[in-house]
């Protein structure tokens, strides 16, 4: 379905998502019109869904980032649905993932500072429904962060 040219384009595009189209064409070794045509086809096929801006919350004064690993009370048949629906109501929740494994759900949460996090944790997060156990990983540093696939 994808040929080497598509893969080459995606590889360079992923490595530098904010690159200008002309530079991307040059790096991928195709003409600008080929690039436009290829990208259009990838979009039509639903492979390329778009380019999302990533907010730098730290620049906006949100210094604390926590990964909350939650296990749910699975005797409650609606535990997942109700927990996730309630977590969506907390705007400090940035990501919600469900897993097969020891952890059922992970929430990525941000807060302005530790005092704000403490308040958020006690009042909004610990009160989410059907929690069996909850464990926090406090973010110290981002060593690598890329959504790039090894194409």
């Amino acid at each position: 379905m994808l040929d080497d040219t598509d893969r080459r384009i995606l590889r360079h595009y992923q490595a530098e998502p904010d690159i200008a189209a002309s530079d991307l064409a040059e790096r991928a070794g195709v003409t600008p019109s080929t690039l436009t045509r290829r990208l259009e086809r990838l979009r039509d096929k639903g492979i390329l869904r778009g380019l999302c801006g990533v907010i730098n919350w730290q620049a906006l004064g949100w210094e604390v980032e926590v990964s909350l690993r939650v296990t749910l009370d699975k005797t409650q048949p609606r535990a997942f649905d109700e927990f996730i629906a309630a977590a969506r109501e907390v705007s400090e929740v940035m990501e919600i993932q469900t897993f097969l494994g020891q952890t059922d759900v992970r929430l990525a949460v941000i807060a302005r500072d530790m005092a704000h996090y403490q308040q958020l944790y006690r009042k909004r997060l610990l009160t989410l429904p059907h929690i069996n156990d909850i464990e926090a990983l406090m973010h110290v540093a981002r060593v690598k962060d890329t959504e790039a696939l090894p194409l």
Binding site: L2, L10, Y13, Q14, E16, P17, D18, K45, G46, I47, L48, R49, G50, L51, C52, G53, V54, I55, N56, W57, A59, L60, G61, W62, S67, R88, S91, E92, V93, M94, E95, I96, Q97, T98, F99, L100, G101, Q102, T103, R106, I110, E135, A136, L137, M138, H139, V140, A141, R142, V143, K144, D145, T146, E147, A148, L149, P150, L151
Partner: protein
């Protein structure tokens, strides 16, 4: 720190959804002239409100059907430097995210693989052979949703 008004917040929200929108199109949607909108976007970018954009692709259609979150505990802290571990783990192409964390684990990794056997290969040959690696916990991603974040609170 940068101060924001409602128009800035609407711009941030719109660009977070689609970073390819032009100042002209965004201005029309928000009732701003193209130059006024462009100036606002420039001000936001200069204040580093945005990090590098994220290319949203269908990972499954591209052949990567498995995503695993790994918690890694280092076994031999002190003997192996964190820098050595970080350099080695960051060099693995299948590892997308490496975060240094405090808590039950020392590092949180996001790993992609084509399928479960491929993940096993990455785990055994690349991750379990990393310098200083100790306990590992793997959780296979079933679903994921990204939220807009606390834009109502900034």
């Amino acid at each position: 720190m940068i101060s924001l008004d409602d128009t800035d917040r609407a711009l941030i929200r719109a660009l977070a959804e689609d970073a390819t929108q032009t100042a002209g199109a965004l201005g029309r949607a928000l009732g701003l002239s193209q130059p006024a909108c462009w100036r606002r976007i420039k001000r936001l970018r200069e204040a580093n409100v945005f990090r590098e954009s994220r290319l949203d692709v269908d990972t499954e259609a591209l052949g990567f059907g498995v995503t695993v979150f790994l918690g890694v505990k280092l076994a031999t802290k002190g003997r192996v430097s964190l820098e050595d571990f970080e350099r080695a783990v960051s060099a693995i192409p299948e590892v997308q995210i490496v975060e240094h964390v405090l808590g039950l684990f020392d590092y949180r990794l996001r790993v992609v693989a084509r399928d479960i056997p491929d993940f096993e290969r990455v785990l055994r040959r690349r991750i379990m052979t990393l310098p200083g690696v100790g306990n590992l916990e793997a959780n296979v991603l079933l679903s994921e949703e990204r939220r807009a974040g606390p834009l109502d609170l900034i």
